[in-house]
């Protein structure tokens, strides 16, 4: 493209408006992700979950809204704060919790841990711990999906902190050059570890990174799961139709520290309290009550079901066996022809 060409913009998605049951399901999914992570935090303080544990609490609307916009053939690649995306894409609470516990029944058999959840059965292609380095992988996944004519789109989640890495820029260049079916979703949660967005970048809208490579780009407020569904829906439709990649910035907020051992003292006074007013769970709960007349009793029952499912995941993880030491060398090299 040349500089005199107008930048294309992303139209509305063609997804039908969401109905009562649909929104209840999205609410339940967000609630389940939050409850599972609360129990993960509890287990972490008991030294049952070890190492790094980065929670997604506050950002659930992004993963759940994106999942609502995708089809099963779409493949997801994410960063290290990926418990939410994993569950939204279909990884069970049990498999996630067991992985955090380092158990043989975990999504990655205890070999991956919090940052490396994989599940091929739902096309969840992993969380990655080198910030920004997974973005080219998503371009490659899109290459494969395109060449093999699967109809699938690659969706890549990353944080605002990843949008400064060379790998990220190179991936944007390649994806646009080859017109790959990939949607890049920058979840701008305001902090790259402890560095706020305005201290790490002159531009604070990371979707503008797409402008330099001629990529369709859009920033949107992502606290409302319905908005996320619509904008990601528009993006995957664009990519699926063969028009090339899209970069979105989903403006969100991380309610907790970078990891379990970060008290997040670097926030401005009152910032967290202010942001909690736009908690995706609150917004959707209001919508359910106001638009769809969901009752307290219905919500209580839903919460009870979520609590039970989350506690069940903990119990499953507790009772699961640890990995068999004799299988330490099992997955270093794939046996050929398998």
């Amino acid at each position: 493209m040349t500089s005199d060409q107008a930048e294309p913009t992303l139209p509305s998605s063609s997804l039908p408006p969401i109905k009562r049951d649909g929104l209840l399901a999205l609410f339940r999914q967000m609630l389940l992700i939050r409850r599972v992570e609360e129990l993960a935090a509890r287990a972490y303080t008991q030294r049952k979950i070890l190492g790094f544990c980065h929670l997604y609490i506050g950002q659930e609307s992004v993963a759940v809204g994106a999942a609502a916009a995708c089809i099963p053939e779409d493949h997801w690649v994410t960063g290290y704060r990926e418990h939410g995306q994993a569950m939204a894409k279909g990884v069970s609470a049990r498999a996630l919790m067991a992985e955090l516990y380092g158990k043989a029944t975990g999504a990655s058999h205890g070999l991956g841990g919090s940052m490396h959840i994989f599940d091929a059965s739902v096309n969840f292609m992993g969380g990655y711990g080198i910030v920004g380095a997974h973005v080219p992988l998503a371009a490659g996944v899109a290459w494969g999906l395109k060449q093999r004519k699967t109809g699938g789109v690659a969706v890549c989640f990353f944080g605002d902190g990843a949008a400064h890495q060379g790998a990220f820029f190179e991936a944007l260049c390649l994806a646009q050059l080859y017109s790959l079916p990939v949607v890049f979703i920058c979840e701008n949660n305001y902090y790259a570890m402890g560095t706020s967005i305005d201290r790490q970048s002159y531009l604070t809208d990371m979707s503008l990174r797409g402008r330099g490579v001629g990529m369709v780009h859009e920033q949107f407020q992502a606290f409302d799961v319905e908005v996320v569904r619509d904008r990601v829906g528009a993006a995957v439709e664009w990519a699926r139709s063969g028009k090339g990649p899209v970069i979105l910035e989903a403006v969100t907020y991380r309610f907790r520290g970078h990891s379990m051992s970060d008290p997040a003292k670097y926030r401005k006074e009152g910032e967290l309290e202010q942001k909690k007013l736009t908690d995706p769970l609150l917004i959707t709960e209001h919508r359910l009550r106001d638009t769809f007349a969901v009752t307290d009793a219905e919500l209580e029952a839903l919460r009870a079901g979520v609590d039970a499912e989350a506690e069940d995941a903990v119990q499953f993880a507790e009772e699961s066996p640890i990995p068999d030491p004799s299988r330490l060398y099992d997955y270093i090299y794939a046996p050929n022809g398998s």
């Binding site: 493949h75 690649v77 999504a107 990655s108 058999h109 205890g110 070999l111 991956g112 490396h116 994989f118 599940d119 091929a120 292609m125 992993g126 990655y128 711990g129 080198i130 380095a133 997974h134 973005v135 080219p136 992988l137 998503a138 371009a139 490659g140 996944v141 899109a142 290459w143 494969g144 999906l145 060449q147 093999r148 690659a154 060379g166 790998a167 820029f169 190179e170 991936a171 260049c173 390649l174 050059l177 080859y178 099992d330 997955y331 270093i332 090299y333 794939a334 046996p335 050929n336 022809g337 398998s338």
Partner: protein, 326 residues
């Protein structure tokens, strides 16, 4: 049997595998319209089209990572680095992604891909274009590292590498692309992980791979004139190591010289020696001697460059030392 150049053997391997499997594709800088910086992929664009012989921008980190993702999505990419020196900006993708995804996903995602290109010094290219990366990649479980020395081996090994379900680091040499050798017309494969005795001998074994197999064969020729019979063992694969062939050669000769391009410190040569002493301590008649590049970045000037690289004279000197003639 036709006598062909190394570059033609590599091209035959890629073309045959691309005809065989539509998921195989070649990607890299100047591989398509330019016909390859070293003309390895000459003519392939015409046969396979731009979706399968793909020019990239100068973006090694990006296209190496793209290859990893494509492999996860069912493709079998061949990622060409114009030279392995440039792979260092893609090191993270090869190590943290390609080598580890199969394990950290508990076998969920295999990584059937090849990274290939010219390795080590050529002539007067200076420090940044002369790196031998053997030891940098052989360090990591999850990678296979192959370094052929003849057109015959190159073709058979590259075909195996492309069919392998693991990431294979395939080390070629600018100095060898023009080497000629006999390559049969009928299809054949050479298994990864098997060494080859390039010259038999009884007094010592010279362990080597890649272009220095030829250096060592010249040295062995000279040693023969002095009545010393050297076995030249071409490892062909650096990882996984063919322990059986290596140890059998040690058991036969009891004296060992290891020739490794690149720097000595923490190199593959040191690793091979460590393994020999762990497993063959009682089969040795004396200390093992290493021949490597001198421990300095490659200088440009011809006279200095010649001091740094491995020569037949240095291999002969090492051989005389281990057989007690020095």
């Amino acid at each position: 049997m036709p006598l062909i150049q190394m570059r033609e053997a590599l091209r035959q391997a890629m073309s045959e595998e691309m005809r065989r499997d539509p998921n195989v594709f070649l990607m890299g800088e100047e591989v398509a319209y330019y016909d390859g910086a070293y003309k390895v992929s000459q003519g392939m664009l015409a046969e396979f089209g731009p979706d399968r012989v793909v020019d990239t921008p100068i973006s090694e980190n990006g296209f190496a990572g793209l290859g990893v993702g494509a492999a996860m999505a069912g493709m079998r990419p061949i990622i060409e680095f114009m030279t392995w020196n440039f792979s260092l900006v893609a090191y993270d993708q090869i190590i943290n992604s390609a080598a580890r995804i199969y394990q950290m996903s508990a076998g969920t995602y295999k990584m059937p891909m090849v990274f290939r290109g010219a390795n080590g010094h050529a002539e007067n290219l200076g420090s940044q274009h002369s790196t031998a990366v053997d030891s940098l990649y052989a360090h990591f479980p999850g990678l296979k590292v192959v370094s052929p020395s003849t057109p015959y081996d190159a073709k058979g090994l590259l075909k195996s590498a492309i069919r392998d379900d693991n990431p294979v680091i395939f080390l070629e040499s600018e100095l060898m692309y023009g080497f000629k050798g006999e390559v049969p017309e009928e299809e054949y494969l050479i298994p990864i992980g098997k060494a080859d005795i390039k010259r038999d001998g009884t007094d010592l074994v010279i362990v080597c791979w890649g272009k220095h197999v030829h250096t060592c064969l010249r040295a062995a020729e000279e040693l023969a004139k002095q009545g010393i019979s050297a076995l030249v063992l071409d490892l062909r694969t650096i990882r996984p190591l063919d322990h059986e062939a290596l140890f059998a050669a040690v058991a036969k000769t009891h004296r060992v010289v290891v020739v490794q391009e690149g720097f000595p410190y923490a190199g593959v040569g040191a690793e091979i020696i460590a393994r020999i002493q762990e497993s063959c301590f009682d089969l040795l008649d004396g200390p093992i001697v290493r021949v490597t590049n001198r421990d300095v970045p490659q200088p440009y000037a011809t006279n200095l460059e010649k001091l740094v690289i491995i020569t037949a004279e240095r291999v002969i000197d090492a051989a005389l030392t281990v057989v007690g003639r020095k």
